[in-house]
Symmetry: C6
Subunit: 80 residues, 6 copies
C-alpha cells in the first residue's frame, strides 16, 4: 500500500451536509481500493468490470452504505 | 462518477415517517449504483439480471437494510 | 418498483414484543424483494431456488438480522 | 413461512449471561432458516452441505455475529 | 451442535485491553464454526482451504471485525 | 494462528486523527489475515490475486469499513 496516499480527505469525517457526507463515503470507499491496488492502469482495467457486473455494483454500494453509516453518526445525522 | 448527480434527495436523512424513510433507503441504494454506472442503457440491461437472480435480489435487500439503519437512527426511529 | 407498495407495515417500527419485532423484520426483508421484483409469478419461481440453496438461505437470514437490529433498537430492545 | 413458528424463544432478548446470549443468537439464526425452509427433510439435506463448506460455515458465523450484536446491546453487554 | 461447547470464553465480553478483546473476537468467531461443525477431523480438512483462499480469508476477517465491534462497545472501547 | 502476533498495534483504538484511525483500520484488517495465514510466502502469493480481482478488492474494502466504524466510535469520531 502506498503509505503516502490520503485515506480520509481533509482528515475529518465532519461535513456541511448529508450530500457532502455521502460524497465523502464514496471517496473513502474508493481510496481504500486505490490503497490496495495503487497501480492506476490495473484499476482502470478493473473499473468497467464492476460497473457492468450487477453483483459488484451492489457490493460496491454496500461499502458506501457502511462508510456512510460512520460518517452520518459522526455528524449527528446532520439534524438541524 | 457523474459528480453532479444528487446522492441524498433533498440533502437530508430526516423524513416524516418510517415508510418515507424506507423509500429514501431504496432511493439512496439506487443512486449509488447510478453514480457508479451512469450509463442508463447499461443500467437498464442490468436491471432484469438482478431482478431475476435470487442472490442479487437478496444482496440488494441487504443494501437497503444498511441504508435504512442509518436513516432510522437519524430519525430516532420515528418514535412518537 | 411499484411505488404504491407499502414497505413498512403500519408505518411504524414499534412493536409490542420481540417476537412481533422479528416478524416485522421478516416482512420488511420480503417487501424489499417484492418491490424490486413486483412480478408475483417470477417471485414464486425464485422462492424454491433460495429455499433449497443453503448459501441463499443464510444470506436471507442475514438480511433479517440486519432489519431486526434496527427494529430492536427502535424498541429499546423491549426491555421491561 | 410457518407463521406459527416462534422466532424469538421466550419472546425476549434478555439473557442471564453472555454465554446464554450467544446461544440465543445461534438459535435465532437457525429459526430464521427454519421459517424460510419449514420442510425438515430439506433442511436435514442442506445441513451437511454448509457444515462441510468453509464459505458457508463462515457466512453462518456472520449471521450469528449480527444477531449477537443486537442481543448484546439489549443486555448492556452483561456489564456487572 | 454440541450444546456443551462454550461459546463465550469465561462467559464475559469484558477484557483488560483492546488486544485481548481482539483475541476474544477471533476465538468467538472460531467457536461458532466449531459449534456448527463439531467434527475436528472435518474442521482440520477445511482449515487449509480457507487459509489459502483469499476470498475466505477476507470473509473470515469480516466475521472477526463484526465480533470485535460488539466486544469493543462492551468495553467502552478501552478508553482510559 | 501465531498467538504472539500483535492484533491491535499499540494495544489501543485511540488515534490522533481520522486519517490515523483509517490507517489503523487497514492494519487491523491485514493483521487478522496474517493471523489466519501466518505463512508469509502464501500471503505474498495471495496478494496479487485479490489486488487484481474486483470482487475481492471490494470485499477487502468492506472489512476496512467495518474496522473503521469501531475505531471511529472509539474516538468519538474525532469531533473537535
Amino acid at each position: 500500500m502506498a503509505e503516502a496516499l490520503t485515506l480520509v480527505p481533509n482528515n475529518t469525517l465532519i461535513t456541511a451536509s448529508a450530500e457532502e457526507g455521502r460524497q465523502l463515503a464514496v471517496k473513502m470507499a474508493r481510496l481504500i481500493m486505490k490503497a490496495t491496488q495503487p497501480d492506476q492502469a490495473v484499476r482502470e482495467k478493473l473499473r468497467p468490470v464492476y460497473a457492468e457486473d450487477p453483483a459488484l455494483l451492489i457490493q460496491l454500494g454496500q461499502n458506501v452504505a457502511l462508510e456512510f453509516a460512520t460518517i452520518a453518526a459522526a455528524n449527528n445525522y446532520w439534524r438541524r
